[in-house]
């Protein structure tokens, strides 16, 4: 660790290429903190949006026309508006309608903080696409397979859990991976409402050190790595789900 710090310090002194995060403890601490926030944001929104997708796809096939319309309305809103506008809508629009609370310093602050709003809005954004992705998987299942489940006495919920989801998931896996990759790349929007995620802390760091190109390079590398890890996991999962003799 010390060797690395010494090397980057030396690099800065000799060439002016300034990766402060590798030798300056203060910058390193906030950089790591920002990275952790980004990780958390990715984790929360991936899990949340997949759940929204599953529930929404279930709702799309519901008997109640109002539930189906509600899901359709939700999809249209969140698929057809820019995600940045959505983040602003939640943080400045909805948040303003909620009561404020006193924090531990006795100052008033919004009931729901930036991180939660960013999570909610990104879950809604990616969730709308996930609903459509799951729907495409579900609709690819032959009707006759579902009829067989019905004839065996499965309830709709049992059919959904035992047949529709496992089959639909296998079909829509590539599209789902795509959307989750997009979601990871959309998380820096949280920067716009001052969530201290990776882009936000990098901005602070380059404002203090005037090392924009270096920090930009780091940002690129980290997002490539994050997406790479996600794609790796998804491909492993896809392989694990593969069924012999089934062309999926």
């Amino acid at each position: 660790m010390n060797l690395i710090a010494a090397w980057f310090s030396h690099l800065n002194e000799t060439t002016g290429i300034n990766f402060t995060v590798f030798y300056d403890p203060f910058d390193r601490a906030r950089f790591v903190q920002g990275f952790l926030v980004t990780l958390e944001l990715c984790g929360v929104t991936i899990v949340g949006s997949v759940m929204v997708g599953i529930l929404g796809a279930w709702g799309q096939g519901a008997a109640s026309i109002w539930l189906r319309r509600l899901v359709q309305f939700y999809i249209q809103i969140f698929r057809n508006t820019p995600p940045l506008v959505q983040v602003y809508f939640f943080y400045f629009g909805l948040s303003a309608l909620l009561p404020e609370v006193k924090n531990s310093f006795g100052m008033s602050q919004p009931l729901i903080g930036g991180f939660v709003w960013a999570s909610i809005s990104l879950i809604c954004f990616a969730g709308a696409f996930n609903v459509e992705i799951f729907r495409s998987g579900i609709e690819a299942i032959p009707h006759s397979t579902l009829e067989a489940a019905e004839a065996l006495g499965f309830t709709r919920l049992q059919t959904y859990r035992q047949v529709v989801l496992p089959l639909g998931l296998r079909i829509c896996m590539p599209a789902l991976t795509n959307n989750l990759v997009n979601l990871i790349k959309t998380t820096p929007l949280a920067y716009a409402i001052a969530v201290p995620e990776l882009l936000y802390v990098c901005n602070q760091i380059w404002s203090d050190n005037e090392n924009v190109p270096e920090m930009m390079l780091l940002l690129f590398i980290i997002y490539i790595a994050l997406v790479g890890v996600l794609v790796f996991i998804m491909h492993r999962w896809e392989r694990a789900l593969r069924v012999p003799g089934l062309g999926l």
Binding site: T145, L152, G153, Q162, G245
Partner: protein, 244 residues
Amino acid sequence: MVEALLVIDNLHKRFGNVEVIKGVSLTVGKGEVACIIGPSGSGKSTLIRCVNALVPFEQGSVTVLGIEVNDPKLDKLKLRKHVGMVFQQYNLFPHRTALQNVMMAPIQVLKRNKAEVEAEAYALLKKVRLEGKEHSYPGELSGGQQQRVAIARSLAMKPDLMLFDEVTAALDPETVGEVLITIRQLAEEGMTCVLVTHEMGFAREVANEVYFTDRGVIVEHAPPASFFTNPTDPRTKAFLSQVL
């Protein structure tokens, strides 16, 4: 006459403006085998789909063991515990092994003990002569093997009535035989069966009664001996002369 298990009385079914079943009545006794034959589009498949409430119908009555199917308050689950169905395209769950396909419904629907169901599933697969294929996925099995898994899957629910909807129509001539052996074995054990089929030879051997349908009505029905040798209706004669 044995005790009636399935009674269809004046059944009418329409899809939009097309009436596909125009007043069909038939009775199948316990342990009997009824074969329904007839040209494509004559409403055969729709008829047996009405029996386990896969398609609703407008008029008439279907009772299975006294359960009225044409009842808005019908407990479909209760009906389907009594009625097994096997489809033309097998319709196995492709993401589950043969054994799991057989085990799913008893565990999920009947909430039965897994170990018990598993033992029965092995026995059922043995019965349909698929020993050693328990852990194969449907995609790894031939059509005939898949269809026998489908039969075992229905039998796992211990139904009182089995419906077979052209179960050999998608199979090549060589594998048709292995599926028919299984059905014949069931019939011999006293299972009540309704078969929609194009296998005239098979109908002749196993059926107690053969029904000929055309354009939504039963044109003629008789025990196979007289049906195939002495058809009375000209439409039956024309059909039989083409297929036999």
